[in-house]
Amino acid sequence: MQVAVIRFPGSNCDDDVLHVLRHAVPGVQARFVFHKETELGACDAVVLPGGFSYGDYLRAGAMAAHSPALAAVRRFAAAGGPVLGICNGFQILCEAGLLEGALVRNASLHFECRDVHVVVEGRPTPWTGAIPAGRILKMPIAHAEGRYLHPEVERLEAEGRVVFRYVDDSGGETEAANPNGSLRNIAGVTNAAGNVVGLMPHPERAAERVLGGTDGRMVFESLLSGREGRPLRV
């Protein structure tokens, strides 16, 4: 299993993702692909890491969405390849139209940097298959533009495409558990085909015991486990 980690100018979680894939997930190899590359080379999955690609100029993710590497990611996704966008990577995927919706300024106007809880749900994806149904994951967030909006959220819900949702530590979908004002507490979504996933929390920052938790590792381990469904919330 070879994973390509796309590196943009301003990415700052790229080394973390590469480290976790190489050292915390047995059976996975990983390498960087620079944003100027027009080909990904042989790979089985792609991760767009967090950071501030192109300085977040204009809108977070707007510039990166038009980079040469993204054209290659677009082809990879169209062929059914698993793609994961974390934080700024999620913003890039939305700007590129590979995921629906948009991520705007947090309702609090603050840069929110803390641990949150998310419940895993929705349709099968290659990034959630190893996570037991209804499992609540504790992972950190670190973003200023994470308020998820979607003009037709009912359709997104009905199609089981909300795959991570902010909850409290006992699973309650409360306003207090929503760190950024996202619609319906949405923390992560998938595309219509179910192979592209984006989420605001950082699984790579919660993938080793020494860093206080390993919940996030399951997102990467899912790549090796095939696709299992999650209970659909209707």
């Binding site: 204009l58 809108r59 707007a62 038009h66 939305c94 700007e95 629906e100 919706g101 948009a102 705007v104 300024r105 947090n106 309702a107 609090s108 106007l109 909006l149 979607h150 003009p151 004002g181």
Partner: protein, 101 residues
Amino acid sequence: MKARVFVTLKPSVLDPQGQAVAHSLGRMGFAEVKDARIGKYIEIELTPGSGGEGVEAARARVEAMCRELLANPVIEEYRFELVDERSSSGAGSAGAKERQG
């Protein structure tokens, strides 16, 4: 020729930044402030087109720039005006004021 592009949040999108500004203005004594919304202004310098059809072509190109990069249609709307600075009638002489949602 210049394009003056205004990008604003759709009315349906909450603007906490604008709310904070309106709140501050109110606190400063500007009691008449009901609401404020923050947008972006982008000025684009275009290489001179050829003749009258240049304006139409420029309009189509700026329209594409807005659609493909300058605005995110999920959350924003845009309008722009083309300004031909060689013309004596000044702003808006290219006759273009577009509004798109």
